[in-house]
C-alpha cells in the first residue's frame, strides 16, 4: 500500500526498483519482516534505521548477496531474480560498501579490474578510470597501490568501480562515516550530479541531517519492519529520529561546563612516538592537558594516529621520557597499563575483538582482565569467581547488556552489546581518568545516549574524560573542549562552543586540504545548544 502511494506520487513513472513483502528470517531474529521499498528513477532515496533495524539485510538482498525467504523484486516493472552480485551488476545495480572490499597490495586499476567480469570492459581501463574520476570530481591516480591511499580515496575507488558499469541504481552504505566535512560536501555534489544524469541512489545512513540535505524520499525501518515513508526535507531531524528509534528521545543537551579549568589531571608534554604498526602514523609533539571534571574530545579521520595515541595513553607503548605523560603531577610515561590502572586510569581501545576483549572468554573473565586491579577481584593471587561474577552482573544490569549472563562468551554478543559491556567495565571501576577510543562505534542510538549520560555523570563527579572519536556530532554534543588529530599532530584544544565546523573540517584534512574556499552549509552540523 505504501509502495502504491509512492508510485502515485510520481505519476507515469515505473519505479526503477520495487520490493514487495520481503521476508528474511535468521535463527532467533526476523531481520526483514514484510518490507516494501520503491525507488523511482532519478531519485536519491534514503534507507534510515538504527543498527540492527534490518537495513543491511535488505540491501544484501537487493545486491544478490542473500536470498529472501519470501517476497518479490521488480526491476523496471518486470519481476527479477537477483541470485548473485554478478546478476545485480548485470541489471545495473552498483554498491559501495561501508567496509571497502579492496585489495591493499594491488593498484587502483587492478582493484577496479577485479570487479569487471566482461573482458571488453577491461581494455584501456586506466584511462577510463582517469576519465570518470575527472568527470565526477573524484580525484584518483590509477597506478597507485591501495595501501598508500586515504580512506576517502579508497571510497572513490569503490564509486568509480561502480560508475564504470554505468549503473542505474547505486547503493551507498554509510558512505560519510569516514570522511571530512569537505569530502562529504564533494561526495554530495557527485551524488546529486549522478541522480540528475539518471542514476538512482539508495543512500543508507543514520545521520539525519545528511539525509535531510540530500535525499528526496526516505524509508524508515525499525526492528525489521518499515515504519514510515516520508519526505525527509519536510521533517525535522528530531521527528526522523523518533520514527527511527522506538523510545522517544530524551532531549540531549549536555550543558557544556563553563570555563571549568580545574587543576590539570593528565598532562602530555611534547609526546612524540614512532608507530609500531606497519602502516601506522607517528605521533608528533603532542601537548595537551585535561582537567578534573572535563571532557576533552579529539576529532579526526581514521588512521591519523588515534590508535597510536590511545596506545601511548594506556601504556601499551611507553613514552620517550617518564615526564612526557604526567598524571596528577606524577610522571607515568614509562608505566605499563596495569600501573596506570592502579593510579586510576581506565581506558578502552577502538578494536573490541582481540584488543578490548578476548572474544573466546566469558564476559566475567573479560571483566576480570581489566577490572581485577581496581575492582579487587583477586584473592591470594587467584581469581575471586564470586566477586568477578558479581562485577559482570553489575555491568550487565547498569548498561542494559543483552546477553544470557556473565558466563556468555564475548563473541556471542553483537558488536554494540559487547561495546556496552566494555564501556561499563571501565566506568564501573570508578576511574579518575577515563579514556575511550570510538566509544559508540556500532552502538545504536538508544544505547549511545545511555553511554553519553554515564560519561557526563562520571565527569560531573570529578573524573577527567578523554574521548577520541571520528563522529564529529558526538564530540560537539558531549565534550567541553575539542582538539583535532591529523597526521599524528594534535591541534590546540578549544572550547566546543567557540568551534566552527569549517575550521574543524580544515584541521581534520590537515594541511594537504586544498579547498579553502569550500562553503559549507552552516546548518548541516548545527549544534543544538
Amino acid at each position: 500500500m505504501m509502495a502504491m502511494g509512492a508510485a502515485g506520487r510520481y505519476p507515469g513513472a515505473t519505479p526503477l526498483l520495487h520490493l514487495q513483502g520481503i521476508v528474511k528470517q535468521f535463527p532467533g531474529c526476523r531481520a526483514n519482516d514484510d518490507v516494501d521499498l520503491s525507488i523511482a528513477p532519478h531519485e536519491i532515496h534514503a534507507l534510515l534505521g538504527e543498527n540492527g533495524a534490518g537495513k543491511s539485510t535488505l540491501v544484501k538482498i537487493i545486491y544478490g548477496v542473500m536470498k529472501p525467504d519470501a517476497g518479490s523484486i521488480a526491476w523496471q516493472g518486470k519481476p527479477a531474480l537477483i541470485g548473485s552480485p554478478a546478476q545485480a551488476r548485470a541489471l545495473g545495480i552498483g554498491m559501495v560498501f561501508q567496509h571497502f572490499s579492496l585489495f591493499e597490495a594491488l593498484t587502483v586499476t587492478e582493484n577496479v579490474a577485479l570487479g569487471l567480469t566482461d573482458k571488453a570492459d577491461r581494455v584501456g581501463l586506466a584511462d577510463r578510470i582517469a576519465d570518470i574520476s575527472r568527470r565526477y570530481g573524484l580525484p584518483l591516480d590509477p597506478a597507485r597501490s591501495v595501501h598508500d591511499l586515504s580512506v576517502g580515496e579508497r571510497q572513490r575507488i569503490e564509486i568509480v568501480r561502480c560508475l564504470l558499469q554505468k549503473p542505474k541504481l547505486l547503493i551507498m552504505d554509510e558512505p560519510t562515516s569516514v570522511l571530512t566535512p569537505q569530502e562529504v560536501f564533494h561526495l554530495f555534489a557527485t551524488l546529486r550530479r549522478l541522480a540528475d544524469e539518471g542514476c538512482s541512489i539508495l543512500y543508507i545512513s543514520h545521520k539525519l541531517e545528511e539525509i535531510r540535505a540530500l535525499c528526496r524520499r526516505a524509508t524508515i525501518m525499525r526492528l525489521g519492519k518499515v515504519v514510515a515513508e516520508c519526505i525527509p526535507a519536510e521533517k525535522s531531524a528530531r521527528e526522523l529520529a523518533e520514527l527511527m528509534i522506538s523510545a522517544r528521545l530524551q532531549p540531549q543537551s549536555f550543558a557544556h561546563s563553563i570555563d571549568n579549568q580545574g587543576t590539570p589531571r593528565l598532562v602530555l608534554d611534547r609526546l612524540t612516538i614512532r608507530s609500531n604498526q606497519q602502516f601506522g602514523t607517528d605521533l608528533k609533539d603532542i601537548s595537551l592537558s585535561i582537567a578534573a571534571g572535563e571532557i576533552l574530545g579529539i576529532a579526526g579521520i581514521a588512521g591519523n594516529g588515534q590508535s597510536e595515541l590511545m596506545d601511548a595513553l594506556s601504556g601499551e607503548i611507553p613514552a620517550g621520557r617518564p615526564e612526557t605523560i604526567t598524571l596528577d603531577g606524577m610522571p607515568i610515561g614509562h608505566d605499563g597499563p596495569r600501573d596506570r590502572r592502579r593510579r586510576g586510569c581506565c581506558f578502552l581501545p577502538e578494536e573490541r575483538n582481540g584488543h578490548g576483549a578476548v572474544t573466546s572468554m566469558t564476559l566475567a573473565e573479560n571483566g576480570f582482565l581489566s577490572g581485577h586491579v581496581r575492582g579487587a577481584l583477586q584473592r591470594l593471587g587467584l581469581i575471586d569467581r564470586r566477586r568477578t561474577g558479581e562485577f559482570a552482573r553489575a555491568i550487565i544490569k547498569a548498561f542494559d547488556v543483552r546477553t544470557t549472563g556473565p558466563e556468555a562468551e564475548a563473541r556471542s554478543l553483537s558488536g554494540g552489546n559487547l561495546q556496552k559491556f566494555l564501556i561499563g567495565r571501565e566506568m564501573l571501576q570508578q576511574p579518575t581518568l577515563l579514556m575511550l577510543n570510538q566509544p559508540t562505534w556500532g552502538v545504536d542510538a538508544g544505547a549511545a545516549a545511555a553511554i553519553y549520560e554515564a560519561i557526563v555523570a562520571l565527569a560531573r563527579n570529578g573524573a577527567a574524560v578523554l574521548i577520541i572519536s571520528q563522529d564529529l556530532d558526538e564530540i560537539l554534543m558531549l565534550c567541553d573542549r575539542i582538539a583535532v588529530i591529523a597526521s599524528g599532530r594534535v591541534s590546540v584544544p578549544i572550547p566546543v562552543r567557540d568551534a566552527t565546523i569549517e575550521q574543524i573540517g580544515l584541521q581534520m584534512g590537515g594541511t594537504a586540504m586544498p579547498d579553502h574556499n569550500v562553503k559549507l552549509p552552516e546548518t548541516r552540523y548545527a549544534v543544538s545548544a
Binding site: 542473500m66 548473485s84 554478478a86 572490499s101 597490495a105 594491488l106 587492478e110 579490474a113 577485479l114 577491461r122
Partner: protein, 308 residues
Amino acid sequence: MTTLEFTSFIVSIISASTPLLLAASGELVTEKSGVLNLGVEGMMLVGAIAGFATAHATGSAMLGVAAAALAGVAISMLFAVLTLSLLANQIATGLALTIFGHGFAALLGAGYVGIAAPTLPNLDIPGLSTLPVIGPIVFGQNILVYASLAILGTIAWFLRRSHYGLILRAVGDSHDAAHAIGYKVLAIRYAAIGFGGAMAGIAGAYLSLYYSPLWSQDLAAGRGWIALALVVFSAWRPLWLLIGAYLFGGITFLSLYLQGLGVPIPAPFVSALPYIGTVVVLVLISRDRRRIRLNQPACLGKSFHAVA
C-alpha cells in the same frame, strides 16, 4: 679446472636445482592464493614413487611423469579438503601431509627397492648438443629442465599480466573482499593447491626417474623443505625464485663436490646453508615492510569461512 670439469660442474648444478625450482614454482602459486602447504616434501615423495612405479610398469618415463603429477594432485586434494572445506589448520595439516606422504610412499615403494626403471631423456639436437661447453649446458639438459623454466616463465606472466592471475593474487590478499565481489575463493584455492601438488609430484618424478634413478624412501632428502624456504627467500617473486633455486641448488651440489675434494668443511654445515641463507634474507627484507606487504599474500595461512 678443465673445460670438461667446468661443464660438468655447471650441468650438475642445473640438475640439482631443477627439482627445487619445480616444487617451489608450484608452492609459489599455492601461497599466492593464500594457502600455506607445508606438505611439499610428502607430495614430492608420493609423486616420486607413483612416477617410478608407472614408468617401471609401462616402460615409459613420460607416462611416469604424468602419473607423478596426478598423484601429486590427488594427495594435495586431501590437504585441500581438510583445510579449505573442513577448515583444519593449514600448518598442522601440511606437516601431517609430509609425514603421511613419507610413510605412504615408503609403503608403496617397498617392492621397488633396488629395481631399475626407464629414465627421462636428455634433449638431443644433432649438431648442437655435442658442441663443447654450450652443447651440454644449453642444448643437452634433461627435458624437465626446459619444462621447469618454461613453467616458471608462464607463472610469472600469469601472475603479473593475466586477469586470472590477478584474481589469484586478489584471493591471497583478501579472501573476504574477493568473496564480496563474487569470486569463488575456495574453487580458486583448490585449483592453486592442485597445481602445487602437480608440480611437487613432477619434482618427485625428476628425482626418481632422472636425478638418482632408483627408488629409496629418502629420495627427497629435505628438498621439499628447501623449496618452501625458497618461496619465502624469493619474497614471492618468480625471478628471485629462479635465482634462489639455482643458488640453493648450487649449494646443495657444492656440499657433495667439496666432500669429494676432501675439503674439511663439515657436511652438515653445508647442508644447513640454504636455511641459513633464508634466515639472512628474511632478516634483510623484513627491514623493508613495504616490499613484504606488496608481495606477501596477506591471507597466507588463514582459513576462509564464508559468512552467508
